[in-house]
């Protein structure tokens, strides 16, 4: 019985704290995405304009987002019965977008970022997810 109460408390804390942090993170992501909208990022390499290039360089951004106790338990339950593990979707979405944002923040004033790639991996057992975004920043001659 004590175990069950302890578990319920942890799940409740996980849910309330976790969703607060998530909401806050999404607000920050949306705000920064709007701010950095001017710098184009593409997955291809044929978006170059016909201008002399001053410099190109590798830019990368990585973000590690941790799950919370609620998501972990919910994910485990869903593992038992199968189906979409939707509780983890927001986690991955946040990690990917945050990584791209950090990459863009690194490439300030780049004219375009080509060949964007995103990779994900798990960290700390299965409790955290890392997203790594990298690409080639291109700066034209002014």
């Amino acid at each position: 019985m004590g175990d069950l109460i302890q578990l319920a408390v942890l799940v409740a804390i996980g849910y309330f704290v976790g969703s607060r942090i998530e909401k806050k993170h999404y607000r920050s992501i949306k705000e920064r995405e709007k701010k950095l909208l001017c710098c184009p990022v593409v997955t291809g390499d044929d978006f170059l304009e016909d201008k002399p290039i001053r410099v190109t360089r590798l830019v990368s951004g990585s973000a590690v987002i941790s799950t919370d106790y609620f998501k972990m338990i919910a994910g485990n339950l869903l593992n038992l019965i199968g189906g979409e593990v939707s509780v983890f979707e927001s986690l991955l979405d946040r990690a990917r977008r945050e990584a791209v944002l950090r990459m863009k923040e690194e490439a300030t004033k780049a004219d375009i970022i080509l060949n964007l790639r995103i990779e994900t991996s798990t960290i700390a057992g299965r409790n955290s997810v890392e997203a790594l975004a990298y690409g080639t920043a291109v700066y034209y001659e002014k």
Binding site: M1, M72, L77
Partner: protein, 280 residues
């Protein structure tokens, strides 16, 4: 090619369903699944348990009570054995085990019926008991579990459920932590019915052995005074609400016309040695 920056408006990568809803649905599905499995296993165990031969049970008993095997009974144990033996002789229908009683130091007020005729009485319970008849009632109650083969049923269910949980969760401790406590609660609820049946058996055997039923309800009366938990708390307990046990016993005493009799305070000889034995 022209690049047009665009803001993400509808995020297709995150399901719109609230995580709380996802969680509740998953929990409900698993609970339903476990409940069905539990019912089916319960049915199977109830069918199989009475058919397990005494020989097989002795083998199981050797596994389950391995630490009791060949254990020499202390002076204390032998005094309890002296109360137990006439009770065993009183019912020829009891499975033919070599019934042995052992005292174990533990503050819990409880006694256990282990497979193959081993009874363990916790020292916490001994401290509460005041008369031979009261002790006889408790031992007769445990004999009732052997007679009804309750420990086999209980063990079968727990064993199979534990196996199932381990199988389903792939040994993942987090899901085991979710599932196991709820199973034990269900398991306990189930055994309350068995406890009441064992009470009835114990009462009949007490009357048969002593010719009266003195001391039959003493222990439960004591317990009901001691534990003034609200009645609903007993849902989570292994044993039924003492009040309802007393009532059931009293009803049976009236129904069968059992004589009240007088309790024998033979216990006096045991208490000093008991106290000496455990004061170490």
């Amino acid at each position: 090619m022209k690049y047009t920056p665009q803001e993400i408006e509808n995020n297709v990568n995150v399901s719109p369903q609230s995580p709380l809803r996802t969680f509740s649905i998953a929990l409900a599905k698993i609970a339903a699944l476990l409940f069905i499995i539990y019912l089916v296993i319960g049915l199977l165990v109830d069918i199989i348990a009475p058919r397990i031969s005494i020989e097989t049970e002795k083998k199981i008993g050797a596994l389950a009570g391995a630490d009791l095997k060949g254990k020499k009974q202390t002076e204390q144990d032998l005094r309890l054995q002296a109360i137990l033996d006439p009770l065993v002789q009183g019912d020829p229908a009891l499975p033919g085990f070599n019934y042995k009683v052992y005292v174990q130091e533990n503050d819990q007020v409880n006694a256990l019926a282990l497979p193959a005729g081993n009874i363990v009485v916790f020292s916490g319970l001994l401290k509460e008991v005041r008369s031979e008849n009261e002790m006889a009632m408790i031992l007769a109650h445990e004999l009732g579990h052997f007679r009804h083969r309750d420990h086999l049923r209980g063990m079968g269910r727990q064993l199979i459920l534990l196996l199932l949980v381990t199988f389903f969760s792939g040994g993942d401790t987090t899901s085991q932590r979710v599932i196991m406590p709820s199973i034990t609660t269900m398991q306990m609820r189930f055994s309350q019915r068995q406890e009441k049946a064992a009470d009835q058996f114990g009462l009949d055997l007490l009357n048969k052995t002593y010719g009266h039923v003195a001391g039959a309800t003493d222990f439960f009366v004591k317990m009901s005074k001691k534990n003034d938990w609200p009645k609903f708390m007993y849902f989570f307990s292994t044993h039924p609400y003492p009040g309802s046990r007393i009532q059931a016993l009293t009803e049976r005493i009236q129904e069968q016309g059992y004589v009240a009799g007088k309790a024998e305070p033979l216990w006096g000889a045991l208490i000093p040695s008991y106290a000496a034995g455990f004061s170490k």
